[in-house]
């Protein structure tokens, strides 16, 4: 007898799908639980963790932001291989503002966020017409090019970079600032992608001529998505500048391009929450593997492959499905 798996929405999922969700606390909890969970987690984690893991949490949050920034671009049909461009641009903007103009971190971070996003958008404007792999190649080249320019012209400290940035007033402000921004970006941009505006962005990824045919200027929308994504990346760069109190050529390193993509793919692209979840798994994993020694990268790579092979849809999509639906085996009637 042949059998196949059938997926059915859980009763509570169906009941909480409408205004009736307000009728019982179970349904309300079912709906709000997954949304409250990250808030509680982010609020408590800094208290629970030691100094070392607090630093890891910072780096997790930064990679989450980069992964979210990558995911927004990918949702609008632009696969970027150069998130380090956004990161580095924000980092250098903040560094220059702080070192040469003496601005405080609370001024440089917001300014560098907008300035970095703007510069990245302008740099990528000429290639907005490119689709698919052609766009990706340009984004891959740009950070490498910038590194060489800094090396050759010795501007902004050249190969040595600029050190001695002003630090954040306290590590608590540091932690809660980046976690707060992460929460804001996660929920805000998730909402944006679900709105009609987000639908147009997804439409561009799906079929850009059809969107043009609706009288919508796709280049304007692509530039806006680029600016949003650039700002998120630039914020994480500007923030890290003040955490490390240093900015230099490593900000354009390949890590900042590849890890966010890995996080988004492992976590499940398209939801932003998946990208965050992916970063929350991959970055601590890489720290845990430090105990292994020289073969760390090998084990890391193997685990990455295992994740992608076993859950190609992404961890978040898998968890979401389990949360909403149950499975049962039914006989195939023929």
């Amino acid at each position: 007898m042949k059998k196949r798996k059938e997926r059915i929405n859980r009763g509570i999922k169906v009941r909480s799908g409408d205004i009736y969700a307000l009728c019982s606390w179970q349904e309300m909890l079912y709906l709000s639980g997954p949304r409250i969970f990250p808030f509680v987690l982010f609020l408590l984690l800094p208290f629970v963790l030691g100094i070392y893991w607090q630093k890891v949490l910072l780096s997790v949050a930064v990679f989450s932001l980069l992964a979210i920034s990558w995911d927004i671009l990918a949702q609008s049909g632009m696969i970027s291989l150069g998130q380090s461009l956004f990161f580095g641009m924000g980092a250098y903007c903040a560094g220059i503002m702080n070192h040469y103009w003496g601005m405080s971190p609370f001024l440089t971070i917001p300014l560098a966020t907008v300035a970095g996003g703007f510069i990245c958008t302008v740099m990528l404007l000429p290639v907005l017409r490119l689709r698919g792999i052609y766009f990706s190649m340009v984004t891959l080249i740009l950070p490498i090019m910038l590194v060489r320019i800094i090396e050759a012209t010795r501007i902004f400290g050249g190969t040595e970079g600029i050190s001695g940035m002003s630090p954040m007033p306290s590590k608590w402000i540091e932690l809660y600032l980046v976690l707060g921004v992460l929460l804001g970006a996660l929920f805000g941009f998730r909402r944006m992608l679900d709105s009609d505006y987000g639908l147009v962005l997804k439409g561009i990824a799906d079929n850009d001529r059809s969107v043009t045919n609706a009288g919508i200027n796709i280049y304007l929308f692509k530039a806006q998505a680029l600016f949003i994504s650039g700002c998120i990346g630039a914020f994480s760069g500007a923030f890290m500048t003040h955490v490390y109190m240093f900015v230099g050529m490593p900000v354009f390193a390949l890590d900042y391009s590849i890890l966010p993509i890995a996080a988004a793919v492992v976590g499940g692209p398209g939801t932003l929450a998946g990208a965050t979840l992916g970063a929350f798994i991959l970055v601590p994993l890489s720290e845990l593997l430090r105990g292994v020694g020289g073969l760390r990268i090998v084990f890391y790579g193997i685990l990455l492959v295992v994740f992608i092979v076993t859950l190609p849809e992404g961890i978040f999509h898998y968890v979401q499905r389990k949360y909403n639906q149950f499975e049962r085996w039914v006989e195939v009637d023929r």
Binding site: D196, L199, K202, G203, D206, N207, S210, A214, N217
Partner: protein
């Protein structure tokens, strides 16, 4: 029907490298008219549409819409002026449910301008437009993902996306191709209704019988040139059209002549 000319195409030509896709095509379209464009495969019909909607830029010649030259504008500007088109190969957003497909045209600047603000709930308006083209209200068709819909519904969706833009001129590129007779019979009343609202329509079609029932005027294309222009009956009487389009009657004589000379 008023005699005001809505669209004027003046001697447009287009060549892709060495291939002359269109050479010196001119025609007028009056307000409220339904113009059929027919011709054998590769005769430049779709290129003509692409030129009018500026998806392709013309090599020479002008396209004038409401007294304004439009052939140098970007394609989204053309739509904002009031020319909507459907594609021969349907281009839905496959991931999205059918009614969500409608949100994108409803988000268009043209629609925003025409209704003077925002729709309260675009989903509800989308469902209204879909019902108009035959997505039954009391079924789940409108909620299915566009990727799982049959061709007939996809063509209707394509039409609904164009209708939602509330255009003055609608260009339907082979709307009937790939549809059954019954499906075509279901779409014709929609087109008749659009004409009733005063919308001018250009239809590119291979299904001549259905087209001739509703078209006011027909132009015939062959090898990138316009070879005939008139009512359906007039056009089909012309020898050049018979040769080019139907192409059987005189073939034998011609080959005989060729061998004799």
């Amino acid at each position: 029907m008023s005699q005001k000319i809505l669209l004027k195409v003046e001697g447009v030509s287009k060549n892709f490298g060495g291939v002359q896709a269109l050479s010196n095509v001119s025609f007028d379209l009056k307000e409220g008219e339904l113009l059929g464009v027919i011709g054998p495969n590769g005769s430049g019909k779709t290129t003509l549409v692409n030129l009018i909607t500026c998806f392709v830029k013309s090599s020479s010649g002008d396209v004038i819409f409401e007294g304004k030259k439009i052939n140098k504008l970007p394609p989204h500007k053309i739509v904002q002026l009031g020319i909507a088109r459907t594609f021969q190969m349907v281009r839905p957003f496959y991931q999205l449910p059918a009614y969500k497909n409608m949100i994108i045209p409803l988000y268009s600047p043209r629609v925003k301008k025409m209704i003077g603000g925002k729709y309260g709930d675009r989903d509800a308006v989308a469902l209204d437009f879909l019902e108009e083209v035959g997505f039954e209200r009391d079924s789940f068709v409108a909620y299915k993902s566009a990727g799982s819909l049959p061709q007939g519904y996809l063509k209707r969706l394509e039409l609904a996306k164009a209708i939602a833009l509330q255009p003055q001129l609608m260009i339907l590129d082979e709307l009937f191709s790939g549809l059954s007779l019954a499906e075509v019979a279901g779409i014709i009343p929609i087109i008749e209704k659009l004409r009733g609202q005063g919308i001018s329509i250009i239809m590119i079609e291979h299904r001549l019988r259905e087209l001739f029932k509703i078209a006011d005027r027909v132009i015939v294309m062959n090898f990138g040139e316009k070879i005939a222009d008139g009512t359906a009956a007039e056009v089909m009487e012309q020898d050049s059209v018979k040769n080019a389009y139907l192409g059987t009657e005189s073939t034998k004589e011609e080959t005989d002549n060729d061998t004799s000379t």
